[in-house]
């Protein structure tokens, strides 16, 4: 008899997620999924806005200190063709 194990809530994750594990009739793992149960729509509602706003907005995507912002900051630097000092890159973990 096949069985699905659901893990909810998920820890070690800031945000929302569910894990489902599908077992076959022998009780062996057949498949596993990670379901992202929250979507905010930043990709869409940021369109048409000035790019300098994407970082302050992005900070409210996931408020984990520093983490979410690094990718956004890198994108803005690429748009402006700016290369940041080596020390800054080390500090931001890029």
């Amino acid at each position: 008899m096949t069985q699905t194990i659901t893990i909810d809530p998920v820890t070690r994750l800031e945000g929302h997620g569910k894990i489902t594990i599908q077992l076959n009739s022998q009780g062996e793992v057949e498949d596993a999924h990670f379901h992202v149960t929250q979507v905010r729509g930043f990709e869409k509602f940021s369109e048409g806005r000035r790019f300098t706003r994407c970082e302050p907005h992005g900070a409210h995507l996931r408020h984990m200190p520093g983490l979410a912002h690094a990718g956004l900051a890198k994108a803005c630097e690429a748009i402006m063709s700016v290369r940041i000092p080596h020390t800054a890159a080390q500090l931001s973990g890029c």
Binding site: T6, P9, T11, E14, G15, H16, K18, T20, H33, H35, V36, T37, Q38, V39, R40, G41, E43, K44, F45, E47, H57, H60, L61, R62, H63, M64, P65
Partner: protein
Amino acid sequence: MSKLKVATVWLDGCSGCHMSFLDMDERILELAKLIDVVYSPLVDAKDFPDEVDIALVEGAVASEDDEKKIKKVRAHSKLLIAMGDCAVAGNVPSMRNPFGPEAILERAYIENASVQQQIPCVVVPKLLKIVRPIHEFVTVDVFLPGCPPSADTFTQR
């Protein structure tokens, strides 16, 4: 005197309010003498308890799961506090309202995906057409605005 049973919940938020709550640093030790955190994303609890004295809710209501959750929280809590601007007024999650769920899912999972383009539909909750603050679903006892409310705001109450 027995400790107050406190629960914290995050709906469609970014956890910034929870982080700000923790930002009270050593003042949390004083608080720990008065409260027991019985349910929270920060502790290992699976189900919302039957009886909670104070529930702090962060985030707006954006999906059917959020709606079910907030109704459950209201039914089992004596005092419900809407924590932060998303819970109080919608805030950042409601920025998707002019576009609607179909447009944002299309952009995120089809246009922006280079492999396996598909809109998730298994297990993930259905998005509500409009993101709304929690007081549009349940009665809220206390509103704590701020994005996030500062640690001082929490402790001054």
